[in-house]
Amino acid sequence: MSRYTSATPADREQMLAAIGVDSVEELFEQVPEPLRLGRELALPAGMSEAEVYERLAELAARNADAEEQVCFLGAGMYDHYVPAIVDAITQRSEFLTPYTPYQPEISQGGLQAMFEFQTAMSELTALPVSNAGLYEGPSSVASAAYLAIAASKGRRRFVVSRGVHPHSRETLATYSVGYGAEVEEVGLEDGLTDAAALAAAVDGETAAVFLQSPNFLGAVEDVEALGAAAKEHGALLVVAVDPMTLGVLKPPGEQGADIALGEGQPLGNRLDFGGPSFGFFCGTEELMRKMPGRIAGETDDADGRRGFVLALQTREQHIRREKATHNICTAQALNALAATIHLAWLGREGFRELGELLLRRTAYARERLAATPGVELLHEAPVAREIALRLEAPVDRVLERCAERGIAAGYPLGREYPEHEDGLLVAITERRTRTQIDDLAEALGAAIAACGDLPVHTTGKSPQGVH
């Protein structure tokens, strides 16, 4: 169905005459005849707007979203409240529909928003330089590895804690094949990165050490202590952080991190079944000219007015081609804008208060859940917003029973950690009320009691398999 186009039959005739051809087909003659499709695509015919809406609404209705279920799922993306002004502003045409700001004179809004974003992320992480954002968390980890090879003049070995998000570790492994680099994983002890094993794994060939805090099991790591091994061998210390905890937890820049990065979704971005969100990426001054992605900078115009441009473009693919610091072009500017607005809305006090709220609700939930029959804590390490539990009943069956009561009880750790087949990861946000937490404890207790006569380890692999 002709849609969003304007050419009338009369327009077409005039245009063809101006071109000097009789038909549009003539223009396609440069496509060799055997390569012309010569039929319609095997797709349905176009539909009216109302029909498309109904079809998409029908598909959406077959998903259990966080309005329908009480959502204790986390594992990197969280059900935070996104203030209404975020939607109102990001849906403005002026932010929604421009391209990357290659013409700064008419892109000051977007460029200044990037500058404000960089300021906010630099404040959160306590590192001086932030880029304007990357795709999402895990690929940002892999991007830091690429930087580390360049910064270390060609070292090609990475040491990564198993507390780093499994998706990040797997993405790092995928990219490392291209980098010609090897990745060594270091295990966890009682929820925290095994410090002795980490120290033993880092050597003079190590380009970077990767930690995450809070780690995937929710535990707050002592980044500074763990990072000593990296410092000793001249490796970069790369720390993935949950931005929503940085109002209360010590920022990576104060713990010796050279690079702090992470998944930006909790800041102003909806769940969207996993994307689009953004990755943030902050570093030291020394690393600025090696960083991936766009960076906005302040400057003056010809009349001395303050203005903003894409700075340090000589790092980038459109200038440096094969020598670029990264291949990234289109990233996630609108998602970074959403974060900028959300952080302005929270403000200095609100951001700290939200961090405190997360810590206290999580502490309450941890105590409440640990007191539930059939539930014990997977580790005793301090936590900020996520709790790792061990259940005395098959996790998938417990989850199924909770789901029947309208609760998405958490993330089954066995999906990613075979050693924690009985593990459940429960995430707290400011939307999870005390009543909902109490309901979760009750639902878990009831579900475990109902499934409790079944041995824990009989279910084998979870529906998504272990990998």
Partner: protein, 504 residues
Amino acid sequence: MALTETPMQRERATTIYEKSKRGRRAAVLPAAEVPEPPLEELIPAKLLRSEPPRLPEVAEPEIVRHYNRLSRRNFDLDSGFYPLGSCTMKHNPRLNERVAALPGHARLHPAQDPKRAQGALELMWLLQESLAEICGLPHVSLQPSAGSHGELAGLLLTRAFHADRGEARTKVLAPDTSHGTNPASVTMAGYEIVKVATDERGGVEMDDLRAKVDDDVACLMLTNPNTLGLFDENIAEIAALIHEAGGTLYYDGANLNAVMGQSRPGDMGFDIVHVNLHKSFSQPHGGGGPGAGPIAVSERIEPFLPRPQVVRRESGNGSGPSFDLDHARPKSIGRLRGFQGNFGVFVRSYAYILSLGADGLAEASETAVLNANYLKARLAEGRAGERVPVAFDRHCMHEFVLSGKPMKKELGLATLDLAKRLLDFGFHPPTVYFPLLVDEALMIEPTETETKESLDAFADAIEQILAEAESDPEKAKQAPYTTPVRRLDEVKATRTPKVRQSLS
């Protein structure tokens, strides 16, 4: 120097941090409802932050005004013509925003049990099937986040494909007209880039290609139509050459908008194609993303696709098919990112495909090609035809490239000057200084969603600027005059970078 300052120019740029005052706030948070012990009882003191980050302190009304003001300092597609070559700035339907915002999409957690995300997985599967048909290749992964991410995926797939056959190849070929992301991706994937020359018709120089193809070549990356907007007529021969040498053929889908429903990369012989959903499939560009760069691949590449892969399973008990995420892919290159991809982009693009349908997609490409050729014809007239002639004089596909070389020589006007003067006429300039092999290049892609009137107005503006430059070349050299700021000192921004607000 501008004679008069516009109101927007008079308003000095002020950041949200400069509007901050201690004690102001916007957010009101829910009450804790739980005991509130000191934080030191929950987290060891040495792991706590001493001072909160210095975020701005501004009340909601001023936050809204601040960002509204900023928005007015942007030019955008909904405000005017945006003929940015290779970027496919077509209309972004608002319907797509509406369906993406449905709670069933927007508030669906990515780790939701697939049994309770059947609608989302079915949508992804349907989009995969649609893109497979459009590309003429049987398998699709939606995972890559943008075009360059798709390129990296394609190169890692190539590496895995050869490794599986016990081969280790080191070189990747790409034309000298290729997008900058191509060589950058090649280096990231651990290959060496080898440039292939362009012939006098704007296609791949076949003798140069023949000389460079050997059994060390892993892949040839091509855009077709290429960045000159020209369809490479030798594509079948090129494909045969690469395949005989054991390489893969990669299609940079940035220019797919020229051939939807007209010609398919798979039928041309490509093994791997990335599709920019933020170009051909109407995802708004957002001032630099989000996008998505799904890849379509041939049978021989399929085993190596990233995981997880969305699959459809027949129930066998009459209850209809179900959809799942398949992680058990032993030869997979692995993950390229977190979770399943930029799902919100998938929703918008699938809504777009449903809206247009088979007939509409073909018509979109047809009109894109018609619009480009018409604008090219308009710009071959008058002064434009003399001063900024088309670089390769033949029918183009969806875009074309002009050279400002005569304009520079005869009027002293650089392509950049013409671009900046266009800003005063209310147009976004074309892509400039790309592709690299055309001197003073201007790359123009009007897209199918522009009216003939817009194209005429743009051609008229170029004519007017060139006429003006004959008597007053300084006018364009100092342009723009009417934009929120005038030409900016980019050298300063790079030499002494100031990349964040300093705060006391």
